[in-house]
Symmetry: C2
Subunit: 220 residues, 2 copies
DNA sequence: ACGAATGTGTACTAACTAGTACGTTCGAAC
DNA sequence: GTTCGAACGTACTAGTTAGTACACATTCGT
C-alpha cells in the first residue's frame, strides 16, 4: 500500500521524472524535518522546487504519501551506511567502538534523519508502521552487533546480560540525543553542541561508554 | 515578556480562575505533546476543557502563549523533582546511580515532558529561549552532579576529563531516548519498551553505564 | 448597594491550506 | 506526422483554524 504510487512510476519513467521526484523529496525532507508533519506546508515545498504542487500530488498522491516517501528515503540511507561497515577483523571492543562512532558520525551529519525520527515518534510511529520496507530491512545494525557481542562474551571480556538491542539503544540514545536535543541543551547549558572540539570529545566518549559498560567487572 | 500575561493574573485571581487555568494547562499539555505545536488544535483543547476557547485567549493571549505556559510548567515540575534528591551521604558512585535512576524514573513517568522537549527541538528551541525562568533555573541538576563528580575525582575513583554537563548528557540521552523514541524503536525491533521487566533492567543498566564510564581504568 | 474589575459564553471572520478540475506540452512509438 | 500516455502548469475550492467582537456574569472593595 505504502509504495504503490512510486512503484507505478518506477517503470517507464523518464530521466526528467526521476529528477523531479528526487528534487521534491530533497526539499520535502528539509521542510518536514524543520517544521514537523503538521507544520510542513505543501505549498512551501512546491515553491522551493523546480516544479509545482500539482506534481507532488501526481507523484506522491497526498501530503502523507510524500512524508512516507521521505521517511523511507532517510531510512534507506542509514541502512546503506550500516551495510558499509566492516568489523570482521576487529577485536570485540574495537568493533564496538567502530560501530558506536559510525552511528555517531551518521547521526551528527544527518540532522534531518534524526528530526524525522523525532517527528515520527511524536506521531507514535503511525507512518513508519505502514512501511514494510523499513520494518523489514532496518535490523542490519542488530545483526552486526549480535555477532560482535557473541564474540566478546565468548572471549569473556563482555558481560552476557546485555543483548544487541540494548547496546544499539545505548549507542543510538547517545548519538540521537546529541543531535535531536541539541537546541534545548545548548540553550539551557549554554554549550555549543556544534563545536568541533566538543564533538570530537563526545565521539571518543561514546566509544568509552559502550566499552566500559560491556567490560565492567563490577556487574559480573 | 514571556510571563507578562500570567503575571498580570497571578495577583487578584479567584479560586475559580486558578482552576480554569490549571485545567486548560493540563489539557493543553496533552494536546501539544501528542500532536506537536502546529498539529495541536486550540479548538480541541477548548473542547476538552470545562471552559471555552475564549478563556484560552483571555488567559494566555495566543496559541504560542499557551504553548509557552505549558513548557514552563513541565520544566518547573522536573526542577522540583531535582530539588528533592538527597545525595549528600552517598558515595560518589552510589550518588551517580541515584541521580541517573531518578532521571530515568522522572522521564519514564513524564512522557509529555519528553515529547514537549522533542517538539521544542524541532522548532530549534525558539520558544524555550524566550523563557528566562527555564534558562535561569534549570541548571539544578548540574550543580548536584558537579559536587558528586568533584568528590569522585578527589577520591581518585572517577576520571577527571568528563564534566558535569557531559554526565548529564549521558544520563539524559539514555532516559530521553527510552521515552522519546519508544515508538519507532518498538516498531523496528519489535520490543515492548513499556514491559516492566525490561524497564527494570534498563533502569539498572543506566546506573551501570554511568558508573562504568566514570570509573573506567582504561582511559586513565 | 454599586461600580469596576475580573471572568465567561456565543457567534462570527479572515486567512490559510490540502487537494483538484481542467487544460497543455513533451516524447517516443508506429 | 500522428497518436497516446506521461509529465506538467494554472487557477480554483472546500474545509479548517487561529483569533475576535460583543454581550453577559460574578466578585469584591467601598
Amino acid at each position: 500500500m505504502t509504495d504503490r504510487l512510486s512503484d507505478v512510476h518506477e517503470s517507464g519513467m523518464t530521466e526528467r521524472a526521476v529528477r523531479t521526484q528526487g528534487d521534491i523529496l530533497e526539499v520535502a525532507t528539509a521542510e518536514f524535518a524543520a517544521n514537523g508533519y503538521a507544520g510542513a506546508r505543501v505549498d512551501e515545498i512546491a515553491a522551493r522546487t523546480r516544479t509545482t504542487k500539482r506534481m507532488i500530488y501526481y507523484y506522491f498522491g497526498s501530503k502523507e504519501g510524500l512524508y512516507l516517501a521521505v521517511l523511507e528515503r532517510v531510512y534507506a540511507q542509514i541502512r546503506s551506511v550500516e551495510r558499509g561497515i566492516r568489523i570482521d577483523e576487529l577485536s570485540p571492543d574495537e568493533a564496538l567502538r567502530t560501530l558506536a562512532e559510525a552511528t555517531y558520525d551518521h547521526h551528527t551529519t544527518h540532522e534531518a534523519f534524526i528530526q524525522l525520527v523525532s517527528i515520527e515518534n511524536i506521531h507514535r510511529a503511525e507512518h513508519l508502521r505502514q512501511s514494510e520496507t523499513i520494518l523489514r530491512e532496518n535490523v542490519t545494525a542488530i545483526t552486526l552487533l549480535e555477532e560482535v557481542i557473541a564474540r566478546g562474551v565468548a572471549e569473556r571480556i563482555f558481560r552476557d546480560d546485555v543483548d544487541a538491542v540494548d547496546v544499539h539503544m545505548i549507542i543510538s540514545a547517545y548519538a540521537c540525543f546529541h543531535v535531536a536535543n541539541r537546541h534545548t541543551f545548548s540553550a539551557i547549558f549554554d554549550r555549543d553542541m556544534l563545536d568541533p572540539a566538543l564533538q570530537d570529545r563526545h565521539r571518543r566518549l561514546i566509544g568509552d561508554m559502550v566499552i566500559a559498560t560491556m567490560t565492567d567487572r563490577r556487574v559480573r
